[in-house]
Symmetry: C2
Subunit: 220 residues, 2 copies
């Protein structure tokens, strides 16, 4: 019997649903019973993770405790940016699968040491710390590309996963490669709704995929 | 501020994720905040709804109470067959959106009175009661088509939504139309993963779509 996975979700809503589908796709299953039980708090009203950081941490801590009380045994959160509040979640006392740590480990597994990151400013800061601590160098989006990235993410949040934002995301990945990235991290769970491995000229590490795979390993 | 929607899910897992995506697709949203908060118990280990009916009812009752305790204000369950246990869910004391009642109402809205049903035997029995109580006649799958339907549903549960089971589901819908159905109900939440309105020669009422739309109306 596997473990019950608690999911702190809703940041954003479509990314969470795509993550749940990914967990199921990665689970070897012949029928319903073989799938992982998941308790999901899909909460699109978590206060803004930067501008209202204190309230965001309090909300995420309450969500984690509530998932624990409902029976979750392992926690995860398919949102990179919100991992700034990982300590508030860990306070619930359950194992918490850290998307930043898992993705960093996966991205450097094939030898890349100069790694581009597609992430929000908050997510990028977390990856900068993790990559540098593990002997890697981060390549960041520069100038107007930073705003273009956020516009593409907000397009997903509005429900637009069409060719417009897809083209932007391909261009941003190419810009990171042009500046010497040996690998690119999709460090925001909206990214894989716009970009796949075939769109990037170097190995692409999708944080949502890495997290889903780790959840299946630990809970399946 | 909308209401928190509690979702009793996992029956099956892929159908639940498709349902969540449907709720989001039907929600008018410019950003995360506009989406509905959902607490989801995606439990693929609910005991079999027929062969272990007593345990299934107890499990669903516990899931409903737990969602209520976690903050859900309205409950729904994107599984037609499991509505045999609706009373156990209603015992939690929250409003419960009944997929059978809502879908029956939607299917007869455009005047159809002889209505074909694509459902498991348990779901079909619920629709027979609901349709007959509202002055409609049910058209059931017959003979080997009944087993073929279940095989297509189990294909979805194995992760196969390919042309094989899709072709079967189109053929079954056509069989119901050939026997005089003026409308067809997709009375199993796996059906829309294989069949769309364009595949059916008469109006097609997808129970997952009807339930999602009702959830958005009541919780948005």
């Amino acid at each position: 019997m596997g473990k019950v996975l608690g999911v702190l979700g809703g940041m954003g809503p479509a990314a969470t649903v795509a993550f749940l589908a990914r967990v199921q796709a990665l689970t070897p299953a012949e029928g319903d019973d073989d799938h992982i039980r998941m308790l999901i708090d899909l909460n699109p009203q978590v206060p803004h993770r930067h501008t209202r950081a204190v309230e965001a941490g309090e909300t995420l801590g309450r969500m984690a405790a509530s998932l624990r009380d409902a029976g979750a045994e392992i926690l995860c959160m398919p949102c990179n940016t919100a991992h700034a509040h990982a300590d508030a979640i860990r306070a619930a006392g359950l194992p918490f699968i850290d998307i930043i740590a898992e993705t960093t480990r996966a991205a450097k597994a094939d030898g890349a040491r100069r790694i581009g990151v597609l992430a929000t400013p908050g997510g990028e800061a977390l990856y900068a710390t993790a990559l540098e601590a593990s002997g890697c160098e981060i390549v960041r989006l520069e100038g107007e590309d930073r705003a273009a990235f956020m516009e593409a993410v907000f397009a997903v949040k509005r429900g637009d996963v069409g060719e417009g934002p897809r083209g932007v995301m391909r261009r941003l990945a190419a810009a990171l490669v042009a500046r010497g990235s040996q690998g690119v991290i999709g460090g925001c769970t909206e990214v894989p709704l716009l970009l796949g491995p075939d769109d990037v000229a170097v190995p692409f590490t999708d944080s949502a995929e890495v997290l889903a795979a780790r959840c299946v390993t630990l809970c399946g």
